[in-house]
Amino acid sequence: MSTPVIELQGIRTRFRDQLIHDGVDLAVPAGEIVALVGGSGSGKTTLMRHIIGLTLPDAGRISLFGEPLHAGLLAERMARRRRFGVLFQHGALFSAFNVGENIAFPLREQGVATEDEIAALVRLKLSMVEMEPAHAALMPAELSGGMVKRAALARALALEPELLLLDEPTAGLDPDRSAAFIELIRTLHRQLHLTVILITHDLDTLAALATRVAILADKRIVSHDTLERTLALDHPFVQRFFHGQHRRAAAIAGEGG
């Protein structure tokens, strides 16, 4: 078994006098799509910000690709950050740049590719997320919610990441768009051999994408397993989260029939 792409050990986070994480342990092997699930305010996004390195936990160790996240010189730390791509919840596209410039920006910053190659890469990334080259000239303010997510995904893919972090990828999309976006991520996962961590509240997204489900409840990871085995788990949060939604879905289906 190769080294896990992400390894969290004993993460403890405290906001003022509120304990958010108390001993979070999680190891994500390469090639998996792990869904991080938890109630509102259970600290999923905080955990993701720890993994990205935006915030430091009060205690615990975070390793990415087998190396401690905050170890080494500045250049090494920056190189480590270029190995993952992040899709923020609201896209976080740079509003002063158009879509093409947004995707080209990390490539230009890296200074390896020439302008011609960058243009070709931007076209390629746009086609990967099923957008037209003409969309490159649009400003983020002119995009619909689904387009923002696609453009942000294209930007996250710009530096050829090995790890993709998705924060609520399908939130705010209608079921049709959401299904298309899920299919897109699945295709990219297959083609690019990505490891994906996604935070989601949506059971459809979870069921369609996740190879494993990590449940964040009671300030720690209570379960990290396949969906089938997670469903069989006897934990109050799991019961509420999965079976509550199922009941409602069943009720709607019952009314329809």
Binding site: T3, F65, G66, A79, R82, R83, F94, S95, A96, G100, Q110, V112, A113, D116, E117, A119, A120, L121, V122, R123, L124, K125, S127, M128, E132, P133, A134, A136, A137, M139, P140, A141, L159, E160, E162, Q191, L192
Partner: protein
């Protein structure tokens, strides 16, 4: 580069090119110049062997595809998985990304016309805002209980009370400098006593209000524009409108009223501190006792000058708040527009204040001046 995978390498053996290792962006970046040179020097009929490539990403694929002249080479060895990646690159629509239009005479004319129309648009919106405020005032006269007292009070504290330390410091220093420079000149004529006339008239009538306006425009005007701008970006203003609450009544009016109220007080405060600084400097430089300074001041500077200064303060406050709110409400939902609007707000506010000051100078040229 993942551990255990060799870095990207390329080797030319006769007309045969052998590629190996990790052909991904991060790995390639280390030796990109040499790899580019070798790729560029490959003959058109070269045989390509990519079978030893371990990883290939879209950057690597684009490098190779362009080295091939964007068509498949005659002889090629390649893992099927990597063939798919290059196929995807090849299948990308080749139509170029839309280019921004070049700047020519036509674009120059368009931009001139746009700025003219933009100015007219600004003027119309400004007038509309003014009219809306007038209507709000009428509405509040009939429903005085709806007056946003809490907002006004909070604004007075923010723009007035919190500006006092910085206004005092600037005023004091300006007073000292002005007094010192003037007294140097007056000493040569033996007209030492006129320092009181110069400082009194200059600071109370002119310098106090203008100084405070510049300070407040930079400090509070920019803050108001940025606040309204961010509220627009986050749709908070739309949320207010959806609740049936008038944005001009709850957001613009309190700011305007607060500045109209706080500015004369700030002018009074700053002018006093500036005069204090001037008196201290005159004491040190010319030996004029502060008590004498204070006693002489009302005799040589007519009280009308103080009224002019205070009225100016109120009018400048009105103008600064109006300009700040006007630009704040016009922010588009992006960062560029926010910064442009904030800059425009401060620059316009200061310009308009100085224009208004000139108008005041002409209108009151016979008032409060001893000739």
């Amino acid at each position: 580069m993942a551990p255990g995978i060799a870095a990207a390498s390329i080797r030319a053996v006769g007309t045969r090119l052998e590629l190996a290792g990790d052909w991904s962006l991060n790995s390639l970046s280390r030796d990109i110049d040499r790899i580019r040179r070798t790729l560029a020097s490959a003959p058109a009929d070269a045989e390509w062997d990519l079978s030893a490539v371990v990883r290939l990403d879209s950057f690597g694929a684009i490098l190779v595809w362009r080295a091939w002249g964007e068509r498949w080479p005659g002889t090629l060895e390649l893992q099927p998985e990597h063939r798919r990646i290059i196929e995807r690159t090849a299948a990308t629509p080749a139509d170029a990304l839309p280019k921004p239009a070049l700047f020519g005479p036509r674009a120059a004319l368009t931009s001139l016309g746009n700025s003219l129309l933009g100015f007219i648009d600004h003027a119309l919106h400004f007038i509309a805002l003014l009219g809306q405020l007038f209507l709000d005032c009428l509405h509040l006269l009939r429903h005085p209980r709806q007056f946003p007292l809490a907002e006004v009070s909070a604004s007075v504290y923010k723009v007035g009370v919190k500006a006092m330390p910085v206004a005092a410091m600037v005023g004091f220093l300006i007073g000292v400098v002005l007094s010192y420079l003037s007294s140097l000149q007056l000493k040569t004529f033996g007209a030492d006593l006129f320092i009181i006339n110069i400082l009194g008239l200059g600071i109370i009538r002119e310098l106090g209000p203008v100084l405070v306006s510049v300070l407040v425009a930079g400090r509070s005007g920019s803050a108001m524009t940025a606040q309204l701008g961010v509220m627009r970006v986050t749709e908070e203003i739309d949320a207010l409108a959806a609740m049936g609450i008038s944005r001009s009544q709850r957001l613009v009016l309190p700011k305007v009223v607060a500045l109209m109220f706080a500015m004369p007080l700030l002018v009074l405060w700053t002018s006093s501190v500036a005069l204090l600084g001037g008196a201290v400097s005159a004491w040190v430089e010319l030996g004029i006792a502060p008590v004498f300074f204070l006693e002489t001041l009302p005799r040589v500077v007519p009280i009308a000058n103080l009224y002019i200064g205070l009225v100016k303060g109120a009018v400048f406050g009105l103008l600064i708040a109006l300009v700040a709110c006007h630009f704040g409400l016009r922010v588009q939902p992006n960062t560029e527009s926010l910064s442009a609007s904030t800059t425009a707000s401060v620059v316009s506010a200061i310009t308009i204040v100085i224009l208004a000051d000139a108008a005041f100078a002409i209108a009151t040229r016979t008032v409060g001046v001893v000739s």
